[in-house]
């Protein structure tokens, strides 16, 4: 069915898409916001560890479902591809609901540092990496980081992190208090002459913008917030966009492809509402479907002028998939360090993001989010400890509250062959070719991971942990919950997909605005940077696409 034209179709209502929809609608443009998932409420999912977005063994509470979605993945050195379902870790899922990943995320709210935008200039690219500078700087994005912090809502302590570059405004809310673990770790970090500070969070520490403050519930990362204190795009910018009356949020609508005319410009989007194929004409298209689904959509949008997919004449779409090479350590203490209060992750240092001898980059290090009982049973054991039997049970009973964990999202070196493609032979429920994910981490990521794991172990030992063991990221394929990089932003159309305003080089009325455009992914959780980039891109989009009658 062909619908009446709108100004813009935004595909995906996650971090990037949510901000764009709001910015366009408040600028007076008519927007159709397509989301494959549903608008979810806390009460539908509650606090079920086995169906949280972190431990998805019985399914993803926030989508997508195992029945209609599948990907192909290369595992380790395997030549054969394997099918993988959304509830399996190897799928690399974020989410499928209004708000995308932000509806159930952990909500750490990091600004990247200046050097994170200038990785090639700072370090030079190692062999086998397409390491590059961003075509925008920290200073370009700073006003938009500030806008994200104030419009969406971040709690934090300005000035507490001595490595943070200039900021034009403090945070709108004070930081959440340190957890018990945070207090123990703070003293230790200070003894080490490091610079600990409270983690900035996209969580209300006090009532803000008509929603309450955090109640320190332990069911935080991976869950919807019971009191609506977590600042997803669903409850902030998307709600505002809808309120303008100009943004039509269409849930359970799966975009199939971008339609183009004889000149190669976009004319609209084809999508499925249920099984019915709809056609939504528009003046311009914004792709914000996440770093796996955005390239998939572009690659599935083939035409005479875009034979290899839209924006892909130089074969860069889907390349340079990145995530984070998470590494760290666990420690067991004589005394209890666990207070059961959410979000639990509370303290961080940025002493090892840069300036590490022999390494390119590094990571912010923070204590971990709460580990609920099943996750603790499966993933927190020193090497050689029994995984079942009485020994397992004893550990679970005695150590749960005596354990602390520190991890860092180690910055990855982009690799051209780490990629998302589409497989014409394997189609999903709607008949759309599925995403195929292949490649493996650059060896440097593992080296940097070992370094960060050593620092984490050092921190825990200083804090008094008696047994300490390290965890280092594996060599396999990347992406996952922090997926990024697959539609690189750049100046040269031959070596990137979008320009510095997120516009596709080859098609002047198609934009990509989500984690895909990240040239590099920082040593931080990525969403505040995705939100800031979306504000930056929207600012320019409104100028470029103006207010013309549809």
């Amino acid at each position: 069915m062909k619908l009446d034209a709108v100004d813009a179709v935004v595909i995906g209502s996650g971090a990037g898409g949510g901000v764009v929809a709001k910015e366009l609608a408040t600028a007076g443009l008519r927007v159709a916001l397509l989301e494959r998932g549903r608008l979810q409420k806390y009460s539908e999912t509650g606090h079920d560890e086995l169906r949280s977005q972190r431990t998805t063994v019985l399914g993803n509470a926030f989508g997508p479902d195992d029945e209609r979605h599948v990907r192909l993945i290369q595992v380790g050195d395997d030549k054969e591809l394997r099918e993988t379902l959304p509830s399996e870790g190897s799928y690399g899922n974020v989410a499928a609901c209004v708000g995308g990943g932000t509806f159930s995320f952990g909500a750490m709210a990091w600004r990247f540092l200046e050097k994170d935008f200038r990785m090639r200039s700072t370090y030079g690219a190692p062999d086998g990496s397409t390491l590059e500078d961003w075509p925008v700087t920290y200073e370009d994005l700073e006003p938009f980081y500030t806008k994200a912090e104030w419009e969406i809502g971040v709690s934090g302590k300005a000035g507490a992190n001595p490595f943070e570059p200039r900021r034009s405004k403090p945070y709108p809310m004070p930081a959440l208090p340190y957890s018990k673990e945070g207090t123990v770790l703070r003293a230790a970090a200070e003894r080490l002459k490091w610079h600990p500070f409270p983690i900035p969070m996209l969580i209300n520490s006090v009532a803000y913008q008509g929603r309450p403050g955090c109640i320190r519930c332990p069911h935080c990362v991976g869950f919807a917030c019971e009191v609506n204190a977590k600042n997803s795009t669903a409850v902030t910018v998307i709600a505002q966009a809808v309120k303008t009356g100009l943004c039509d949020l269409r849930t359970e609508c799966v975009a199939k492809e971008i339609l183009t005319d004889a000149q190669g410009r976009a004319t609209g989007v084809a999508y499925f509402k249920g099984r019915e194929l709809m056609e939504q004409p528009c003046r311009f298209v914004v792709v914000s479907a996440s770093a796996t689904e955005s390239p998939r959509l572009l690659l599935n949008s083939k035409s005479r002028l875009h034979p290899k997919g839209l924006g892909n004449n130089h074969d860069w779409v889907g390349r340079n998939l990145q995530g984070h090479a998470y590494s760290g350590a666990y420690g067991l203490f004589r005394q209890e360090v666990f207070d059961g209060l959410g979000p639990a992750a509370s303290i961080a240092v940025c002493d090892f993001n840069h300036g590490n001898a022999g390494l390119k980059g590094g990571a912010m290090m923070a204590n971990e989010f709460i580990r609920l009982p099943y996750l603790f049973a499966r993933s927190v054991r020193p090497p050689g400890a029994p995984r079942w039997g009485l020994g397992h049970k004893q550990f679970q009973r005695q150590q749960y509250k005596r354990c602390a964990g520190i991890k860092g999202p180690v910055q990855e070196m982009p690799v051209f062959t780490n990629r998302v493609e589409v497989d014409e032979r394997r189609k999903d429920y709607w008949g759309i070719p599925v995403a195929k994910i292949t490649g493996k981490r650059h060896p440097h990521d593992i080296e940097a991971g070992r370094f960060i794991a050593d620092r984490a172990a050092e921190w825990l030992k200083e804090a008094g942990a008696e047994t300490v063991w390290k965890t280092v990221a594996g060599k396999g394929s990347t992406g996952g919950q922090h997926q990024a990089g697959t539609c690189r932003m750049g100046v040269d159309a031959k070596t990137s997909v979008v320009d510095r305003y997120c516009r596709v080089h080859e098609t002047d009325n198609v934009y990509v605005v989500d984690g895909s455009v990240h040239v590099t992914n920082g040593g931080f959780n990525p969403s505040l940077t995705i939100l800031a980039t979306a504000y930056w891109a929207s600012h320019h989009m409104v100028k470029q696409q103006g207010k013309v009658k549809a």
């Binding site: 509650g46 606090h47 079920d48 560890e49 086995l50 063994v57 019985l58 399914g59 195992d66 509830s87 519930c217 332990p218 069911h219 019971e226 059961g340 609920l372 009982p373 099943y374 603790f376 049973a377 499966r378 995984r387 079942w388 039997g389 009485l390 397992h392 049970k393 679970q396 009973r397 749960y400 509250k401």
Partner: protein, 152 residues
């Protein structure tokens, strides 16, 4: 705490497992999280968790349970002269350690059962295991889990 015996649980009926399969499965989960001063996986009803999931989220594993449970039992008989259900906890555990270490076939399946047992024992009671939140009580976190709707 009054908990029904394994035979009574079996009589309660399963959606997917046959009585024979359930009997073998119970011998496994009982070794994976045995009872000590706190109830184990058998007492927590984990067999019902697994059965319920095999009819739902874990549908794709039904075939493996069907073929591998009797195989493991037969392997046990071949190795020890007795079926799993005839062995006491200590002998059963010793046999399963050999399976786990790859000395006897069936390690991958056993790992799957370990994982499903952990899910059932530590997950929310509404899924059929962790009856009365016994694992949370054991860990001293029943208030933390309960207050925030873990039972919901």
């Amino acid at each position: 705490m009054a908990l029904p015996a394994a035979s009574a649980l079996a009589a309660a009926g399963y959606q997917v497992l046959s009585a024979g399969e359930a009997e073998i499965l119970i011998t496994l989960i009982d070794a994976i999280v045995p009872a000590d001063q706190d109830p184990g996986a058998k007492e927590a009803g984990v067999v019902h968790f697994i059965d319920q999931q095999l009819a739902g989220a874990h549908k794709r594993f039904v075939g493996r349970y069907r073929t591998e449970l009797p195989k493991l039992d037969a392997a046990c008989r071949a190795a020890t002269g007795k079926g799993l259900a005839e062995l006491g906890l200590r002998e059963r555990t010793a046999f399963l350690e050999r399976v786990d270490q790859g000395e006897v076939a069936g390690g991958a399946f056993f790992q799957l059962v370990v994982d499903h047992t952990m899910q059932g024992f530590y997950g929310a009671p509404k899924h059929g295991g962790n009856r009365d939140g016994v694992s949370w009580r054991m860990m001293g976190i029943e208030k933390m889990m309960g207050r925030h709707g873990g039972h919901a």
